[in-house]
């Protein structure tokens, strides 16, 4: 908010009257949008508001149905991502677009390989890649395979790729959804440096407070239309929320219920690291009662994902036991655990949550197939009931159950993954970063749904990297660090205490 006062406010790229429809869905209805030189324009809006669509149009991924783009005042046609790159525009996609079977280095330079006399100059690529990782303060080996990286690290690779282009306009569509607070801080430092170099940035995030700290201009999209615009000086959190969803949402409070007997008992659980050496989860004990909501906070790599995947049966422990309703589930398959009432909502929805070739409805009913099978055959009416109930419960914004899953906005896809598991009526639900990519309205809704189920006796365990989410519906907040639970809090603690226990400093 300082640079705008000194330099003349200059618009580098502006979108005029952009409309875009996908069949019957009108994703954008005549949007005007300006990007200012050397400044950060943040774009806010609910899930499905059209943010990603607008960004895809600016970066040449999609063509608008109507409207025009002006680059430095001159009309331009951006027909492909390559053309966009030549005009100095690059984008970090909301859904990762990396080749999992290739190395970090190859992904960073994909399509722009550095050529030497002997073909690709791998040494130079590796050097630049290392430098980028250093700038991002990440310890990622350029020669590691992307599929071996954690989700957060993959996101870093995606960011590194966009940074390596040296573009004038950098679009970031939810770049931090899988990053820890410390990593976000580093990214913000990088953004400040880029601004100083005159790079213009568009930033999209559902972490509103976080996004506010770097905005120079804020734009709010709602239902495909721009509903509000203001420079940073004129806005605050309330303004954004008001314009986004119309009223103020809070993330709820722990439901006042009496806990039942223990539903999930994890004792002395150890899980080896995927890389082989060391333990991702280290002799961990955890008991969750019926009706209780537990939040697990921790940095990336603290072992939260491994803990949950092990409890759900995806990976096997090296020691310890998991008991559900006083029955050991150690010998059970994932399917048996789901039937017994223990389900997991995975962290990475594209890789582990959704079947991209199936419709919204079939994704929603996937975990409950047995419930609508009568004898040998599936009962379509019964399935339809399950799907409709689920769409209503988690309020998925969709054309209908027959729509392809890829046509949903990111947040709505996330709701499908959660809805699919809730509709199995579990006793214990584990959610790994359930709020990844969903707007505050939806987040509040998800938490409300979870609280409601907890009040009816469901045990809920969710992990988060956003401290704000710890102090919402959770009765108990656990901090995980290097595979162990290092601290335990109740609802009346402070963000500072939680963050201190996790070993990270406070974001400014």
């Amino acid at each position: 908010m300082s640079t705008s006062d000194i330099t003349v406010d200059q618009v580098v790229l502006s979108a005029r009257n952009i409309a875009k429809s996908f069949g019957a869905v009108q994703a954008l209805k005549g949007v005007n949008f300006d990007i200012h030189r050397g400044q950060v324009t943040t774009l806010f809006g609910e899930n499905g508001a059209g943010k990603s669509t607008l960004m895809k149009i600016l970066s040449g991924v999609q063509l608008p149905s109507s409207g025009e783009l002006l680059l430095n005042g001159v009309p331009v046609h951006i027909g492909s991502t390559v053309e966009a790159r030549e005009l100095g525009i690059s984008i970090i996609h909301q859904e990762l677009s990396l080749a999992p079977n290739m190395t970090v280095r190859d992904n960073v330079f994909m399509g722009r390989e550095i050529m030497g006399p002997m073909g690709v100059n791998f040494a130079e690529e590796e050097r630049q890649c290392r430098a980028l990782m250093q700038e991002l303060e990440e310890d990622i080996d350029p020669l590691a395979l992307v599929e071996d990286l954690r989700l957060g690290q993959q996101q870093i690779v995606e960011i590194a790729r966009a940074l390596s282009v040296n573009s004038n306009i950098l679009i970031m569509d939810e770049p931090t959804s899988a990053l820890s607070a410390a990593e976000v801080e580093v990214l913000f430092k990088v953004i400040h440096d880029l601004k100083a170099k005159g790079v213009s940035i568009v930033y999209i995030s559902h972490h509103l407070e976080e996004a506010l700290t770097i905005s120079d201009h804020a734009v709010v999209l709602r239902d495909g239309q721009m509903t509000a615009y203001a420079p940073r000086a004129d806005i605050d959190l309330d303004w954004i929320v008001r314009n986004m969803v119309g009223e103020n949402f809070d993330l709820g409070t722990p439901p006042q219920t009496r806990f039942g007997p223990p539903a999930l008992v994890i004792s002395n659980l150890s899980v080896p690291m995927a890389s082989g050496t060391g333990l991702a989860v280290d002799q961990l004990d955890l008991t969750v009662h019926k009706g209780e909501i537990v939040c697990i906070y921790g940095l990336m790599g603290a072992g939260r994902t491994e803990l949950m995947e092990c409890a759900a049966g995806r990976i096997s422990p090296s020691a310890g036991d998991v008991r559900l309703n006083d029955r050991s589930v150690a010998q059970m398959s994932i399917a048996q655990r789901i039937d017994a009432g223990l389900v997991l909502v995975p962290e990475d929805r594209q890789r582990d949550g959704l079947v991209q070739t199936m419709t919204v409805g079939r994704n929603l009913s996937l975990a409950s197939i047995r419930r609508f099978t009568r004898g040998l055959f599936t009962h379509l009416g019964a399935e339809r009931q399950i799907i409709d109930a689920s769409i209503k419960e988690v309020t998925v914004k969709t054309d209908g159950p027959g729509a392809p899953i890829g046509s949903l906005s990111g947040g709505n896809q996330q709701k499908v993954v959660i809805g699919k598991m809730l509709v199995t009526h579990p006793d214990v639900i584990l959610l790994d970063e359930p709020s990844r990519g969903i707007d505050i309205g939806a987040k509040a809704e998800v938490f409300r749904i979870l609280a409601q189920h907890a009040a009816q006796g469901m045990a809920v365990v969710y992990s988060t990297s956003e401290v704000g989410e710890c102090l919402s519906i959770a009765h108990r907040i656990l901090v995980m660090r290097r595979g162990k639970i290092v601290a335990q809090f109740t609802h009346d603690t402070t963000k500072e205490a939680i963050m201190a226990a996790s070993g990270e400093s406070l974001v400014a």
Binding site: L344, V355, R362, L366, I369
Partner: protein
């Protein structure tokens, strides 16, 4: 194996006319009509009932293999062994029909036809089971595992016969094992039994895919194995079953073929796996898994069968036939990628 990242290029709008959309989606059907029209025009012998029956008999063999192949491809795999399994099961049924000599007792056993059929089907399923176990439990890539069994099955068939052919499969009334040729020769209401078998298998497969939990599991694990597994789909069991069903289909085809020929040679069915794959692809299934239907595959089998028989009838050299078939396959794959690239499905 699963594609963990998504591409954003696939979200182009499909703003074409409805007619173009319809042509694209029903392309195998329209291709079949076009083939029939063109050849009827070129040759008076093409569009006759007897020729259609002959061609359908050919299609039955490929169609049966293709339905098994479809299940495997829906799972994201491939089964290269079906041609060899067809040969092996044909020879095996021939071997049983000739009588099994029991070394110790010095008697020759002539199993009745139904026993022959059951044992032959079991053999096909067993080969498929071996494929499935190799792929699901030992993580051998499907291409390699089934390439291996392609060779092994063919080798065993040659060993069993010493390279010769079992010629007399009609059985003997005295021995009570007649009726084997019924599958290949008889007609019910004018329709060859082989075609009826194909229709029944296709119906069963369609019901399996559309109306059973297994079908749903298959589509899900073919589309995204990791997500399916986390949703409680027994992905390994599905994978093994799929290869068993493919082996079973190949065995049925083997029975029909050796019954049609009343002889069983060890080289029967060589390269048929490629025709089966072609039929599945022409029928609109995606080689990546998760997309495809039985109707499409059947149409694909008819397109390929009617095309190559038509070329024979109008006297095109067999070299050109090969070229045409290849061109049809490439065209089909191209259209598939247009269809699946444009549906807003982010691959």
């Amino acid at each position: 194996m699963t594609d963990t990242t998504t591409s954003h290029s696939g979200a182009k709008p499909q703003r074409s006319f409805n007619i173009a959309q319809m042509l694209l989606e029903g392309r195998a059907f329209f291709a079949l009509i076009a083939i029939i029209l063109v050849f009827s025009y070129l040759s008076p012998n093409y569009a006759t009932v007897s020729n259609f029956l002959i061609m359908s008999n050919h299609v039955a063999i490929f169609g049966l293999l293709a339905i098994g192949m479809l299940l495997v491809i829906l799972n994201g795999g491939i089964d290269l062994s079906v041609g060899s399994v067809l040969g092996l099961t044909g020879v095996f049924s021939g071997y049983l029909m000739q009588g099994v000599q029991l070394e110790g007792a010095g008697v020759i056993l002539y199993p009745p036809v139904w026993v022959v059929i059951v044992l032959t089907l079991a053999l096909g399923a067993f080969v498929g089971f071996c494929n499935g176990v190799l792929i699901a439990w030992f993580k051998v890539p499907a291409f390699v595992a089934t390439l291996g069994s392609l060779y092994v099955a063919r080798g065993v068939a040659l060993l069993m016969t010493n390279g010769l052919t079992y010629n007399n499969l009609s059985g003997d009334a005295l021995l009570g094992n007649t009726g084997f040729d019924w599958l290949g020769f008889n007609r019910i209401a004018g329709v060859p039994v082989g075609v009826i078998v194909l229709v029944i298998v296709a119906l069963l497969a369609a019901i399996l895919l559309m109306r059973t939990a297994f079908g749903r599991w298959l589509y899900a694990s073919g589309g995204n194995e990791r997500a399916a597994e986390l949703s409680g789909v027994p992905v390994k069991r599905v994978q093994i079953t799929v290869y068993m069903l493919s082996g079973l289909c190949a065995a049925i085809a083997g029975l029909v073929l050796s019954s049609q020929l009343t002889s069983a040679g060890p080289t029967a069915g060589t390269t048929y796996e490629l025709t089966a794959i072609a039929a599945v692809v022409v029928g609109g299934a995606s080689m990546m898994g998760g997309r495809g239907t039985v109707q499409g595959t059947l149409l694909g089998a008819f397109v390929i069968g009617f095309l190559s028989d038509g070329l024979v009838i109008v006297g095109v050299s067999s070299y050109w036939q090969t070229v045409f078939t290849g061109a049809v396959i490439v065209l089909a794959v191209m259209l598939n990628s247009i269809q699946y690239g444009g549906k807003g499905a982010r691959r």
